[in-house]
Point group: C2
Chain length 702, copies 2
């Protein structure tokens, strides 16, 4: 007999009333902002796809809270299968598929087939390989995975140990796993789903090791899905998150495959002689990495905005204590204050809302630069590559770190209920947080940003020494802030009042000066003090963060003004109306000022800001939050336009019926399927009623 929980109303004011009140205070048009962020075409597509996915039984989101890993994986396999069917039925484009999949948000066994296997075949396979592998892969006859990392080798691809030795006698490669550390590991989709794999292995021919190359291999039988002889593979077991994906491991035992398995668009091995043919330009391979890192900025935006929506809506409903200086009355009775009215809660949540908006604009800019760079590279122009690569690495690091922190902060800001799975925040964190590690560990990859910044700085110094550089000639924003610093490294911030800090130019100059200061310090330490690179890693990380904060602040400022460059061929953006622009500027101000105020150290160390200014900035923030942002808080998160299906959270519901939904979800907990728990007879009764006495306890005990 399953338990039935009572159907009681919460005490007033009701969540729905509170959210209605919040929405009535919004000073801007939510729809206008939503449209500005995403564009109408995107919104129309999202709405259309949402209608399809939210009504599909295979794509329901409720059971994920209750199921163990085995059931969750089975669910994801069923979902991935259904998604492929839907995409065929509705003739989805790749973009539509990705968007629909991101609404369902259940990383499944076919995810890497689309995300890495197919793109690698496209970019590294030759025409024959496109026929043989790519075409059937697009039809899902082949299901693939991308096997790069090994048990002992993550970030350092050059260190992988799996070998592919060319055997001229049979014109084959022998794929082999020499050590346990060479086991392929973490490979999404390999655990049980894939029948093919792109395997990164050291290409050895004529006794020479040419380093890691990509091979496309069959690993499971097309007939019955059993492992092919010479291949062992399985699932690597449970993880913090991503448990709906079968991350797998794989070993090769002198496994022979024909020469065509070496993906040969760029490098190849000549039949018989085994002569190695070099790739034309190794820089070409940066493209995919930049794309993935740039796209992670967009994913960071989604994750941040989702968490912010849940926590902000719930904080407007959740009430705790009475603010003694300003007690809230409903029907002449003092009621507890919504936690969103407390300045601490505002200081925790509002900068996160602002962060999500900041990420929107930088995400757009990174995608524009990516496509521009691809276009340039196709013409043999590599001038943009270094900047785009550096920014995408640093921004991947900064935005994913900030997004993961934001989710956890939002979770904690929901109080105890943020710990319940039904808040939606635990699973969001667990599935999001690998972003800080994969595609380049967030500490590691900032060295790539650093290298670019130091080189830019040195080049600039050299040019200035030779008198080749005028301030006006510097158009690249990174070079511009470095140049300004070199003009005068003792510049002071001109702000004298709290409201001076609402000037975007003043904000941006502070970020530029601080980033340039850090770069200058490091270059001095490396070049003059001859410090080792290793000993400077912490400073390099900080410089990358500073540079990327500058980019985020700058794009936010330009983005709300409609002054960001548009991708070639796109119509210029329509400008925001006055009220919407003002509301956006409040967030842009908060984003910039909060970043400084929360960690003012480097701004003070650089000498650009002084103690009095940091204190004024604190006032500017508190005034902004209390008088302007507070009343728009729910409006801001509504403008992200996340549906209840997407949020999948009892606390983040649009209608505010949080406690009703939460209780309803608790009734479905499998443990509640019976009133008396299964282990009672064996593990409780021997203590509480060892002799099986009859008679109700009340009478007996009291």
């Amino acid at each position: 007999m399953a338990l039935r929980f009572p159907n009681l109303p919460p005490s007033g004011p009701q969540g729905s009333e509170l959210l209605t009140h919040e929405r009535s205070q919004t000073t801007f048009s939510v729809h206008e902002v939503t449209k500005y962020l995403y564009g109408e075409e995107f919104l129309e597509r999202r709405e259309r796809l949402l209608n399809i996915v939210e009504n599909e039984p295979a794509l329901e989101k409720e059971t994920r809270f209750y199921d163990g890993r085995t059931e969750r994986f089975a669910h994801a396999l069923r979902k991935d299968h259904r998604m492929v069917q839907l995409s065929k039925e509705h003739k989805w484009s790749a973009e539509e598929f990705m968007m629909a999949d991101s609404l369902v948000e259940e990383p499944g066994p076919f995810g890497l087939h689309r995300g890495m296997f197919i793109p690698t075949l496209v970019s590294q396979g030759n025409e024959e390989q496109h026929e043989k592998f790519l075409k059937p892969a697009l039809r899902y006859e082949i299901i693939g995975c991308y096997a790069q990392t090994e048990l002992g080798h993550g970030s350092n691809v050059q260190g992988i140990e799996t070998t592919a030795t060319y055997v001229p006698e049979t014109d084959e490669f022998e794929i082999h796993t020499p050590y346990l550390t060479a086991s392929k590991w973490w490979i999404g989709g390999l655990g049980v789903a894939a029948n093919h794999a792109v395997v990164m292995a050291r290409l050895i021919t004529n006794g020479k090791d040419h380093g890691p190359h990509a091979f496309c291999l069959p690993i499971r039988s097309m007939e019955d899905h059993t492992l092919l002889p010479g291949v062992m593979a399985g699932d690597i077991g449970p993880k913090f998150g991503f448990n709906t994906t079968d991350n797998g491991c794989m070993w090769f035992d002198h496994y022979r495959v024909p020469r065509i398995c070496l993906l040969s668009k760029y490098s190849s091995v000549k039949p018989g002689s085994g002569e190695y043919v070099n790739p034309p330009n190794s820089k070409l391979s940066y493209g995919t990495m930049v794309l993935i890192r740039a796209s992670l900025v967009g994913a960071a935006c989604l994750a941040t905005s989702k968490a912010a929506t849940i926590a902000t809506r719930y904080s407007a409903i959740r009430r705790q204590f009475v603010d003694k200086d300003k007690p809230l009355k409903v029907d002449n009775k003092v009621v507890e204050t919504p936690v969103l009215d407390y300045s601490m809660q505002q200081y925790r949540l509002f900068p996160i809302i602002a962060q999500a908006y900041a990420f929107v604009f930088t995400s757009k800019e990174m995608m524009r630069l990516y496509y521009l760079n691809i276009k340039h590279m196709a013409k043999g122009d590599f001038s943009l590559l270094a900047d785009v690569h550096a920014s995408s690495s640093g921004l991947k690091s900064l935005t994913t770190t900030m997004a993961a922190a934001a989710i956890e902060e939002c979770r904690r800001a929901c109080g105890g209920h943020g710990f319940s799975s039904f808040s939606g925040l635990p699973l969001l964190f667990q599935d999001y947080v690998p972003n800080v590690t994969w595609e380049g560990d967030n500490y590691m990859i900032t060295q790539q940003t650093g290298r670019y910044l130091f080189k830019s700085f040195r080049d600039l110094v050299a040019k200035r020494t030779k008198g080749k550089m005028s301030a006006a000639a510097v158009t690249n924003p990174t070079l511009a802030y470095l140049n300004t610093y070199l003009e005068n490294s003792n510049l002071k911030c001109p702000a004298q009042t709290a409201s001076d800090f609402y000037n975007p130019e003043i904000q941006l100059a502070a970020f530029g000066h601080r980033a340039a200061y850090l770069v200058a310090q490091i270059v001095h330490a490396l070049d003059v003090e001859k410090r080792t690179w290793n000993s400077m890693q912490v400073d390099i990380y900080n410089a990358s963060v500073a540079h990327c904060q500058f980019i985020l602040v700058q794009n936010f400022i330009l983005g709300i003004r409609g002054e960001m460059e548009q991708p070639e061929g796109m119509a210029p953006v329509e400008k925001l109306s006055g009220s919407a622009k003002e509301a956006m500027k409040d967030l842009s101000d908060l984003f910039a000022l909060h970043l400084i105020h929360k960690q003012p150290g480097e701004f003070l160390l650089s000498g650009y800001l002084d103690a009095k200014q940091v204190n004024l900035m604190g006032q500017a923030i508190m005034t902004l939050m209390e008088t302007k942002i507070r009343k728009n808080a729910v409006g801001y998160v509504d403008a992200f336009g996340h549906s209840d299906y997407y949020l999948n959270s009892a606390l983040g519901r649009y209608d505010g019926k949080v406690y009703e939904a939460y209780t309803e979800m608790a009734t479905k907990e499998p443990i509640n399927a019976t009133q008396v728990v299964k282990g009672y007879e064996q593990y409780i009764k021997p203590f509480t009623n060892p002799h099986g006495k009859k008679g109700r306890s009340m009478a007996a005990r009291l």
Copy 2:
């Protein structure tokens, strides 16, 4: 047919060799430090209990990685049952039980029975109630829980809505849940295990509401464990962590219980007349809260040291890239550098090791103060209470926040493998992180610390104005740093070289000055500028952090010198030998300096440190880590003395056989029980082999 993964050796150098090498470099006696931290009696007890628990089948730790919530709960119920049996067999004391339970580390359904139900009966029940409830509870005939929080009421106990109305006619209380928001929620052990509950409800008699009081009620039948009429209860569903505990919810429908259910040691209701008898001193109830918060400092230490052990050992084994300035050679061949040699990794992990040590000493000091205060209060002396309450609140907030951050940082510092459940770190984080929310939300409770600091500051100013205060007369350390600041608020740090910062007095003075500066600023804002309390919450939080960092730094300095006060009646601590003391002082230096260097803002704002000094401090930290702490890193974590059973981590193993253990654990993943996954026929084959063709793929495809 279950999969068998190959039995290969990792490529060299082996983990075991690397750890042996690390251990050979340690400059101090690991055993001496372990003994100093814990005392011999503690170590002997831990060893003895470990031998019992690690050999009990019901207490195994492997299945927790693979099981879903239902199975994990069943496991925990079995474990709790077995623990009670073991405690009876071995005649464990309450302390021994707690220690054994903490080795097993599986929060189960009987945890709150011991942790809250029994202690509440002890402290708030009268003699009759001890007979009726406490004695059977100690024998586990009664199994109880502690039902305070409600769906709509967490931190604010005064806001709870459940009512207990005295009915004079029958000399009973009627317990009732008026609204959904009054549902008891989050109650550990209530979901399925408890047959009794201590319920906090508003005591109403003769129409007057006397606020929340504790009642002890039967909720499930002693005969068959079914819910009693008038009571509905169940499990609240899955959570981020703590899924082995049945956190429950409960509703009362005009549920009648006799008057004896009101726990009446302090307040009571007279039979018939219903007259309410006041508690003698409301301050007495602070005792338990202080004890719990103080004990959470010890728990923060355990969690931090556990995570640090896993991440540090694994970082000595995990190798990535080659440090070009200083390549590592084994057998004349360049091998990848252990990540522990990178300064970024050191900057991430070494302060966490130091943090764990810092927590040891402050945890001891808080427990000493708790018992001293209890002794004083029993004599009617409440002079210590305010300080202990303020410190325990602020330290609970700071240390649990730091510990949660440390676990997650350690997890990420293990690279991708930190994401695997087998690292032990995901579950550690998930089960630990509620500490930041429960027993007083970490942002909320710092206001209590703030109130005490501001009052102390105002009192001190008043006394100084009246000329009643001489610097020598101030013995309380909080007052001492406030007084020093009032003597001269423009004091500057005297350090002029990097090595000056290795002077503990210089470190401590910086923390004192900064904390006093923040307190002075807030008192000025509140008292002179008349700012509202709400508008100052962020500053108040920062002041509490600053105060508690001062305490942590001070206790660390005194602790390694053997200069901390000992609990009354305890022998003075034996001093550390020179080499051990030096190794400890390195950590103490790092702890203090890293706290400043990572967030120097307030130290700079207070005017005590300048930019040049912060840069010198950076040098002091890097030198310390590279030349002194690096070689002791594994020794430091070994000295925590955590057994492999306790760590339960493939990466943190004492013997360094991490990849072997990890692979072995992966083979046990339930998904690997069959070679071809269950859903293959239904969800994969329709794409890959729709017509059931025969013949191996290799031949067909290639």
